[in-house]
Subunit: 419 residues, 2 copies
């Protein structure tokens, strides 16, 4: 036996031994390797984007597209055995992101912009839905398909928008608070639209009583968990500071965050809505506990996984078909127009600069749109081409606004200095 | 339709809509709920254990046992669709733990205790292996089964031991450095034993050349990656501090940690050996970059999952069979004796207190033992009863030493004050 033979035999034996926990151990190593490569790619691309003054989040999304299953297939998102693990990591990441956004939002601040945010959200839901629905009707699709296209165009991606405002250091502005408030409200409205549309698709009928109850459940959740939580924190929260365990406020904050997220899911809301509410509750004592600073460390390591995985889901090969590309571009234009006008109109009184900033910041669609499209696809209501159109719309509404929002923010800041 | 009917219909419709991403979305929520409950249970139990002056890690392991599939089945570790996700989380957690242990270990300190640690590790591997092997031979088991019992008894759990020393605030002591050094070396020796034993089990023969090559590969890895890394960090590491990205040292540290872990797995070592080496490399500039402080925040949130999942793997129902219980207790006594005498003997010159502390600190077995037992079980070399014995040994060697090490540390500290 030569040394080379021995080496080969040993490496085989040793790697065999290393995978001794059965397939599981080898799979764990494989997933960790993929996560490492995706993390490295996203961090490097993000760093380059920061250097060239572009939003970091776009760099991370693009890194995801390239590392994902449709280009390099380094991040094997479509492997059925690994799929769930990646989804859990992405979900935990976006929950932490919305929690940290909530931490920067005091209830009193929310109350100030609440009514404006509500009208922005409502008009920003109605107009895109109407545009999507009527475009589909005009192009000879049936009612159900048309309604689903409308529903897909409804919900702004709070995650992407919030991250963008954070990266651009613009979170504390009134316009940003309106955007975040409206994005949270429109996520809730989007879920109501989804439950109505899917009810119609299954039963071809929907009861007004059922819709009323859905809305009542959501309002009760918000009242009890947010107002109750804030009250409780104001009165008893100081006790957390007295616990001697290391990082107690962060640990208790995380517990509250995930508890709210889980409860939100149980009553049919998105986990991120609950996480945001938990952040609002904890915000009352933020200056005291410094949870935000500590959470930033968790965020810098974890949140990137949400964006890289979102990017990896984009199937860019679908756009080689010119008819899909054409329909996708029209839907994208309608999706831009719907939010831009819908969301700017209710706040037109703030001036053209601020109103159009709010409209543009509400343009990015994301997870909720993809969830609705995937649901319709799995039910056979829409086909692959239609799904491709929806993904293209989500992709373009996410990729383009960051390039426009940067200059818009500069213009708002400049306007302030001149006055 | 009554209001109650409407409510029921709506809740069904809404929860249906919420799970619209297909089964995946519902599964993600289920896993997050389980992780939340396990996290809460572990943190509460850990806090209680701290209050009653017992090691926190034991509280977390016990929380795992109770939440795990064999008692409450809240943490559904044995569900095939969720299994992998939990394993990935546990692995990431223990990688971060070993990285942070490495960060507290400078190469120069390691060099001081290196030779002592090597002899402690070697004797602590040979004696338990011999005791396990001969007990099995005496009780009429065949060679292969006897060898596997020896192999299962070999490797100290670095994770549990290190966490214990950290909790007891004793990490900077010479004895602790010897323990950590020896535990890392014995993990490497354990993996060599495993590759030899599994080679024998498969081929009924093993070449000395192959063993030599295995050892050579490991030595080369350690030399290049540790010495080379330390040299590189000393010379060029200051550049990391100049990067403007937030938390750059932590992010680059994490990248190096997981890269080392992945390379270690590729050449047949455990991921945690690589993670420890990465920590040693980064330790050179620890005072400058404060990676350790930031990592502590990640640790406080993530590392608990390793221990709660390790606890959840313990099938306590296996011990209701008196013959398994009896054999398990004998193997446990041998496992204690093997490390206690084997590891204390090479350092007998340090005095009885310190030598016996080192021996006792090396007693806990863990992941490697369980991996070897699971491997042998899957190959049909050992049966369920034998597996139960191995698990009981791992459980008792993990649960008992913490209660003895606390008083031992106090005694060492008292002895120092008196002199």
């Amino acid at each position: 036996m030569t040394v080379a033979d021995a080496a080969a035999a040993t490496i085989a034996a040793v790697s065999h031994a290393a995978s001794s926990g059965g397939d599981t151990h080898a799979m764990v190593s494989k997933i960790i390797l993929q996560l490492l490569l995706a993390f490295a790619a996203a961090k490097i691309t993000g760093y380059i984007f920061e250097k060239i003054n572009q939003p970091v989040v776009i760099g991370e999304l693009l890194a995801g597209v390239i590392m994902g299953p449709y280009v390099l297939n380094v991040l094997q998102l479509n492997d059925p055995s690994m799929h769930l693990t990646f989804e859990v990591i992405a979900e935990v990441a976006v929950i932490l992101l919305l929690f940290s956004i909530g931490l920067e939002t005091k209830l009193s601040d929310m109350a100030k912009v609440g009514l404006k945010a509500f009208w922005v959200a409502l008009a920003g839901v109605v107009l895109p839905f109407a545009l999507g629905f009527f475009y589909m009707k005009i192009t000879n699709h049936n009612d159900i398909m048309s309604m689903f296209m409308g529903a897909i165009m409804v919900a702004t991606s709070v995650g992407i928008t919030a991250r963008l405002l954070k990266d651009l250091d613009f979170m504390s502005e009134e316009v940003s608070r309106i955007v975040i408030g409206a994005a949270v409200i429109d996520d809730i409205l989007g879920l109501i639209v989804l439950s109505v549309v899917s009810g119609l698709a299954e039963k071809n009928s929907i009861s007004l009583a059922a819709i009323a109850v859905t809305i009542a459940v959501i309002v009760i959740f918000l009242l009890i968990f947010t107002l109750g939580g804030v009250h409780f924190n104001k009165k008893y929260g100081y006790r957390i500071g007295k616990l001697k365990a290391r990082n107690a406020p962060l640990i208790i904050g995380s517990l509250i965050c995930f508890t709210y997220a889980v409860v939100a899911v149980q009553i049919g809301l998105a986990a991120i809505v609950g996480a945001f509410m938990a952040g609002v509750v904890m915000a009352e004592r933020e200056s005291e506990f410094e949870v935000k600073e500590k959470l930033e460390i968790l965020e810098d390591v974890l949140v990137v996984f949400f964006f890289v995985i979102m990017g990896a889901k984009v199937n860019i090969t679908a756009f080689t078909d010119p008819s899909i590309l054409f329909a996708g571009l029209i839907i994208t234009v309608l999706a831009f127009a719907g939010k831009l006008f819908g969301c700017a109109l209710p706040v037109a009184g703030m001036g053209i600069k601020k109103a159009s900033f709010i409209g543009m910041a509400m343009v990015p669609r994301g997870e909720v749109g993809i969830i609705i499209a995937a649901f319709a696809l799995s039910k056979g209501i829409i086909d692959d081409a239609f799904y491709g159109i929806a993904i293209l719309m989500v992709l373009l509404t996410t990729l383009i606004p960051p390039f426009i929002l940067g200059p818009m923010i500069k213009s708002i800041k400049r306007g302030r200095q001149n006055s």
